[in-house]
Subunit: 262 residues, 2 copies
């Protein structure tokens, strides 16, 4: 039975994230780019089942672009069964449906399941097949569920590292607390309504002085339109000051540098 | 003003999907892998702003792995302003925050915004900077919003094609109707409770006959445990028949091939 305390205690790394298991990967470069994609999203437990060109592999290290911690700690095994033996929950990635009755998950649902399994103290992993052929049915059978990435059916070939990337991304996203949309106000802050009104009155006062807000019966709607434009821009305090400077500069009697006032 | 009917009528492809704009991409290979990632998720309107090694580029075509439709229709321009002129809504991708007050979106929120903009008949695009340096602030200013991919802060370098891939994936997913979890019952269907009960009674009858369900006071809980196990497997009609075959085979008086019954 997988997942005994004994087995778990032997696993020193990646305890809180799923293992990535590459079955018979062909190109060292793909192992490297997959390692990089793993580390981009906080995954570091890589297991290699009989990589075609042996292990370690210089091309893998070069393509990892600095994700050495993944390469250095990769575990080499000869059979998929060995790679999954200490895991409690395994997902198999496939590009096509198989003649097997098994739950088929989207990457997003798979990530939620992985968070659930790992959150309850169990261990999980995701297996990926060789580049050209994908996983054999004998490997898929070892999994609790199948994962298929939704892609353009007319052009569906994802490479190995891209598949790892998308699943890592969903895994990371499932716990990420980045707000869906945010504005960074840097050294400034949104303008208060008082500051905004001060600017409006400054602007409108100058426009009155220059005879722009005429005839009088049109003035209310012209003012409304102008205020609405600036309102919509959700200006910062800094921007309000800038605009007041703009108005002040434009209303100087003589342009800067062209007269004694310059 | 961008987005006049005149301008829109000139755009023959990708009318219903955002344009991908690569500003001064350095490596042809990255243009190719980005093209492939685009087509994986149904994007085909590629615009190149002054690619370092010129255009067309053989390495780009090779790396596109068959996404020729994207490469063949790529539009070459010399300035970012030209690339976005016919668009109504533009998102700039960056890896770091900028000294600019602008909404910062996750890929998921960006995809929702893009669907909204394009769904209302307007045109949208996403700009990506050169591999090493990213977009200049002058390019970011052209955008309505900024997109940052949430990544492991300790290892945050995403390559160009990977950034395109993740955004394409979210774009595609935003309209994808794949169920979060499904089981394909292939040629079969879930077993009815009647079929399941037929199997239970068959199995239990044979176990009684072989004296397994003893002593009698333990029988009810033994039966419950067995039924529960098979219940949990949510068997198909086919699997129920298989299991009845298994029970029948195991209860033959003489193993197949070892006697006259074989």
């Amino acid at each position: 039975m997988a997942g005994t305390d004994q087995t778990k205690a032997d696993v020193s790394q990646g305890e809180n994230a799923p293992a990535i298991i590459l079955v018979q990967p062909q190109l060292g470069e793909n192992i490297g780019t997959a390692s990089r994609a793993m580390l981009n999203f906080g995954l570091s437990d890589l297991r290699l089942v009989s990589p075609r060109d042996g292990w370690p592999n210089d091309r893998a290290r070069a393509a990892a672009s600095g994700a050495d911690v993944v390469i250095d700690n990769a575990r080499l095994v000869s059979r998929t069964e060995e790679a999954v033996a200490d895991l409690d929950y395994v997902i198999a990635t496939t590009a096509r449906t198989r003649d097997m009755v098994k739950p088929v998950l989207t990457p997003e649902t798979a990530a939620a399941k992985l968070r659930e399994v790992i959150g309850s103290g169990r261990r999980a992993g995701i297996i990926f097949g060789p580049e050209r052929t994908g996983l054999t049915n004998d490997d898929v059978v070892l999994a609790d569920a199948v994962l298929m990435v939704p892609v353009n059916p007319a052009f569906a070939s994802l490479n190995l590292a891209q598949a790892v990337l998308l699943i890592g991304y969903e895994w990371f996203k499932a716990a990420d607390r980045t707000p869906a949309e945010q504005i960074d106000y840097l050294q400034t802050r949104p303008a208060t309504k008082e500051e905004l009104l001060g600017f409006f009155e400054h602007l409108e006062g100058e426009l009155d002085r220059f005879g722009f807000l005429k005839p009088p019966e049109k003035r209310p709607s012209m003012v409304r339109n102008l205020r609405n434009l600036f309102q919509r821009a959700t200006m910062t305090e800094q921007e309000v000051r800038t605009m007041r400077g703009v108005v002040a500069a434009l209303t100087r009697r003589v342009p800067k540098g062209e007269g004694p006032e310059g």
